[in-house]
């Protein structure tokens, strides 16, 4: 237990500290790098609670893909952050309100069983011990067996949203040289070469 507690406090402390640095850092790229560190420590916390699959997916999806695009965009943008920061305090009350609501909701969800002990027994399914069932299997059962239709509807909505975004932003510009691989491969000697007999002194 001692080691678990040690690692919990290590990950939790680094996660909170780097989350603070995300908003405190002057350089936006440093902010994103601190955000990545926060994700990384959150994955560590997941691992400590035994949610190994979630931890790895957090790393693959958020750190490996989403944060890369984030970093990409922040590096390319040339924003004057000193100017942006000067007006940031105006939004502080709204931000604080959102934060308080989120914290209240979290407390209600997590501490609900303590307020109402009767609710603790009414969970949908009893959770099997981790030794009997790995959480990869358990998640697979829930997503792909119990709730497959909801899962597919969610996937459909995402697919439509993705296609919609592409359709809205795609502009096919004219007069640009494009490479058509099939056309290149389909060329034969007859269509590619023209043999011209040039008579002396005349040119083509």
């Amino acid at each position: 237990m001692g080691l678990q507690a040690l690692f919990f406090y290590l990950f939790a402390f680094v996660a909170v500290a780097s989350a603070f640095m995300v908003i405190a850092a002057r350089n936006p790229v440093h902010s994103v790098l601190f955000l990545i560190l926060t994700f990384f420590n959150a994955a560590g916390l997941f691992l400590l609670t035994g949610a190994e699959f979630l931890a790895m997916i957090l790393l693959v999806v958020y750190v490996g893909a989403v944060a890369v695009l984030f970093l990409f965009v922040v590096m390319m943008l040339d924003v004057d952050f000193a100017e942006m920061k000067s007006g940031a305090l105006e939004y502080a009350p709204v931000g604080a309100l959102v934060g308080i609501i989120l914290a209240a909701e979290l407390i209600i969800v997590l501490a609900g069983n303590a307020f109402n002990p009767a609710a603790a027994g009414s969970g949908a399914n009893p959770i099997p011990a981790p030794s009997e069932r790995t959480n990869t299997q358990a998640l697979g059962d829930v997503l792909y067996t119990d709730y497959i239709f909801y899962f597919q509807i969610a996937g459909m909505v995402l697919l439509v949203a993705m296609i919609g975004a592409i359709v809205l932003t795609l502009r096919h510009r004219e007069h640009i040289k494009r490479q058509d691989i099939t056309e290149q491969v389909a060329r034969t000697k007859e269509t590619a070469i023209e043999v011209v007999k040039v008579k002396p002194g005349q040119g083509i």
Partner: protein, 348 residues
């Protein structure tokens, strides 16, 4: 106090000892893999390659190491110093961290975790950060262009690589790397009545996916013909332009550790890990680690041969190959694999 030692100190000491052993063996292996890479490259171009330091140039990598370490590290004045020095550290640490879950033989693994293949995939997807951070922190044009290229490239090829891994997992039914190797004791060969042999391994049953995985691994590790992030004809040395001495060496080390890791991963996923090619007594007598290293060396030979005689891709062709060819192909193959497993009733 007794419990403290037996519960914490002793396991920690064993863990550190194992890690050090793997690390030292791996670094030695990388030193000779670098030498082999240069020798193969030279042989293809009818040169001799490194042949001066030590007999047949065998100590060349160690001479290079000394040279890199003894040189003065130069940090450009406009560079973002912290990130500039952090980038090679990130690259090399991540590349070496993945080796914790690689099984070298039955039971020879430091951390035998349930989600081993996902761990490898997750850490491999983080390796792009070393490149991006290095390119950005250098605060100069060519490194930045190299970093942007590599970010797009590595994210693109991860997608098709993920699908290939999922297809292999469908055949195995476990995310544990040891289970993946053991699942390859039975396969096509045993199903048609032959004894256990190399025909059971996944390379035969999933041959197109093996090819896709190999090419994606080349792109993922920035190897030629996909070394656009450091294309010396256009970007001088890409994200490594401003680096020299030890930081540069760490980038190189991370790169080669990632390459050897990809060789080990394809060995585990497709070439049956430590399993001998035929189930006969004198081949079973050879320790599994020998087969593992031999297969990794064979994969690396293919990596270096490709480097030696394939010309570099153009960047738009690279993106086309990743998104328009490999992504649909691996997706369709994944569906086909799932159907075949379901219809033949061979799904685990």
């Amino acid at each position: 106090m007794d419990g403290f030692i037996s519960n914490y100190v002793w396991p920690a000491a064993i863990m550190i000892g194992q890690s050090l052993l793997v690390l030292v063996a791996l670094l030695l292996f990388i030193a000779y893999v670098l030498y082999a890479d240069r020798k193969v490259w030279a042989a293809v171009q009818l040169r001799r390659g490194p042949n001066v330091v030590g007999p047949w140039g065998l100590l060349q990598s160690f001479a290079d190491l000394l040279k890199f370490v003894l040189k003065e590290p130069v940090i450009p004045s406009g560079a973002n110093k912290g990130v500039f020095l952090l980038a090679p550290l990130v690259a090399v640490t991540l590349a070496l961290a993945t080796w914790a879950v690689i099984p070298f033989n039955a039971g020879w693994v430091i951390a035998d975790i349930n989600v081993g293949i996902l761990f490898v995939f997750a850490i491999a997807s983080l390796e792009v950060y070393g490149v991006i951070m290095g390119g950005w922190a250098s605060n100069s044009k060519y490194p930045f262009l190299g970093a942007l290229r590599s970010a797009a490239q590595m994210v693109s090829y991860e997608v098709s690589m993920g699908f290939v891994i999922v297809a292999v997992l469908l055949c195995v039914g476990s995310l544990n790397l040891t289970d993946i190797v053991l699942a390859q004791t039975n396969g096509i060969g045993t199903r048609i009545g032959l004894p256990n042999s190399m025909l059971d391994w996944h390379w035969l049953a999933l041959f197109p996916l093996f090819i896709i995985f190999f090419i994606s691994a080349l792109a993922e590790t920035n190897r030629p013909p996909f070394d656009l992030p450091e294309a010396e004809s256009e970007l001088v040395a890409g994200f490594m332009v401003e680096y020299g001495s030890t930081p540069y060496m760490m980038f190189m080390l991370g790169e080669y550790a990632a390459i050897v890791l990809m060789c080990a991963l394809s060995t585990i996923l497709f070439l049956g890990g430590w399993l001998p090619p035929l189930d006969v007594w004198f081949l079973n007598w050879v320790p599994g680690i020998v087969w593992f290293v031999l297969k990794v060396c064979m994969m690396f030979f293919m990596f270096s041969i490709v480097k030696a005689f394939v010309p570099r891709y153009r960047y738009d062709q690279l993106m086309r190959l990743g998104w328009k060819v490999f992504l649909p192909l691996s997706l369709v193959l994944l569906v086909i694999v799932a159907f075949v497993l379901k219809l033949t009733g061979t799904a685990p």
